[in-house]
Amino acid sequence: MELITRHQHNTQTIITFNTTSLDASNADTFRKQIRASLESSTKIAIDMSSLSFVDSSGLGALLSCLRYCTEQGSSFALYGLQRPVSALFELMRMHRVFQVFNSLDEIAGVQA
C-alpha cells in the first residue's frame, strides 16, 4: 500500500497519510513517494491528522520537503496535528520553521 495519498482541493495539493506513524522505518519511503507531488505543485498541504507518532527521522523528512519547497518558491504547510505530535513540535520549537495550521480552511484563509 502507498504510504501517502494525494488529492487536489482547489489550487491546493493535499497529502494524507495511510499510516499512523512517520518514523525511521518509513521516512525514506515517504521522501521518495512525495517527490512527484512536490515537483508538480506549488501549494502543498500535509494533512497530519492520521499520525499519532513522529520521530526525528520523520521530522527530518518533513524538513527536507520544506527545504525543497522553499527553494522552489512553493508553499508547504502542515495541518491537523494530533496532540502528541504537536507536543513534540512545541518541545522542539518546530513552529519556528514549519507553517502549522489547525485546518485546511485556516490555510486557505491565510493564503487568500
Partner: protein, 395 residues
Amino acid sequence: MKALILAAGKGTRLMPLSRDCPKPMLSILDRPVIECLIEQLAKHGVTQIIINTSYLAKEIESYFTSGRRFGVELAFSYEGFEQDGELHDRPLGSAATIRQIQQHSGFFDDTFLVLCGDALIDLDLTALIAAHHQAGALATLALAQVPAEKLCQYGVALLDDTGRIMAFQEKPKLGEAKSDLVNTGVYVFEPDILKYIPSDTPYDLGSDVFPQLAREGAALYGVEIPFNWIDIGRVADYYAVQMAAICGDVPAISRPGIEIAPGIFVGANTRFDPRRCHVQAPMVIADSVTIEDGATLIGPLWIGRGSYIESGVHIERSLVFDYTRVGRQAALIEMLASGRWCAGKDGITIDPVVSDIPWILADSRTKLPSIYNREQHFLAQLNQFEPLEMGQRTS
C-alpha cells in the same frame, strides 16, 4: 498507636511519572510524599508503622533504612515473590494486606490507623481517633468536602444524622452524587475489622469491606474534620502541588537550598548565574545542577538534582526531574520532563528515546558524542531555517 501506610499501588494514572518511581516516593521538591506522612504519624503519637510494598518496592525500602530519624519503628511488608533473580509483584489489595500482616505477627492489637501513601494531609489525627472512640466505631473514615465537579473522581459517602455511613457511591457521574463528602483514604480501625476480611483472596477496603459494613449496618462512621488534603492521583494533581510548593504555598514543604535572590532557591554545588540568564522567580533549583548562561527560566519551575540546562533553552512553568539534560533547541512550557519521558500536565507524553531526540532531552550522565552527533545530523537539515524567531512563520 500503630499505623499502616498503603504503598503497593502501581500508580497507573501517574504514568509516566510512576514508571521508575513508586507513587508514594514521588517528591514534592525534595521530600517524598510518604516521608511527610511518616512525620505526620509520628507527630500524633504513632510509634510503629508498617509500609506495604510491591511495585518498585526497593525504591521505598532503600530510602527508609530505618525509621529512627523520625522517632518511629518502620517495618515493610512485601507483596510478591522472587523467582530467577527477579521480584514479581503480587499486590494483595488493601484489605488483604491487613489480613496478611495480622496472620504474620498479630500486629494489629489495638486501635490503628491506615493511610493511603499518595496524598499529603495535615489532618489532626488525634482528633480523628478521639471521634472514633467517642462514636464507639469499628471503622472511621476521614471525609473531605470537595467541589461538585471533582466528586466523580472519588468514593462519595452518605451519612445519617449520627455520622454513620449508610452507603457509598463509587465515582458517581456528574450531578448524580448524593453528598459532597468523599473518602480521603485515612482510616481508623479496631482490630475486629479483620472479621470482615476473608482469607486467601484479594480484597479491597474501598470496594469490598466498606460497602459490606455499610450494608450490614456495622459501626462505620465518617468524620469531617477540615484539613488540607492534597491527593496526588493524577499527573495534573502532581503538577499542581509541585507548582504550589515552588511558590512556598505548601506548609509541610519548605523550599530547599539558599535563596540567592527573591524567590530563587538554589542547592549546593549548582552552577547558575541568574544575572546571565533570563530569569523570572519563583524557582527551586536542586543541587549539582548546571545552568548555562543564556537560558530562559520562567517560574514557577523546579529543576532536579544533577540536571544540565544548555544555553538557549526556554523553560516555563515546568518540572525538570533529576539528571535531565535539556538541549538548547528545547522549549519546555508546562511540561514535566526527564531523559526518559516528557509529559504535558494534561498527561500527553513524548518518549525522547523512541522519538530519537537525545539532543532535546537525555539523561545528563549520557556521554556527549552520541548526543551531539544526532544533533548535528538534525541541525544540518534545520539550520537553513534558523534565522526565524520563535512564533514567527515562514512566508
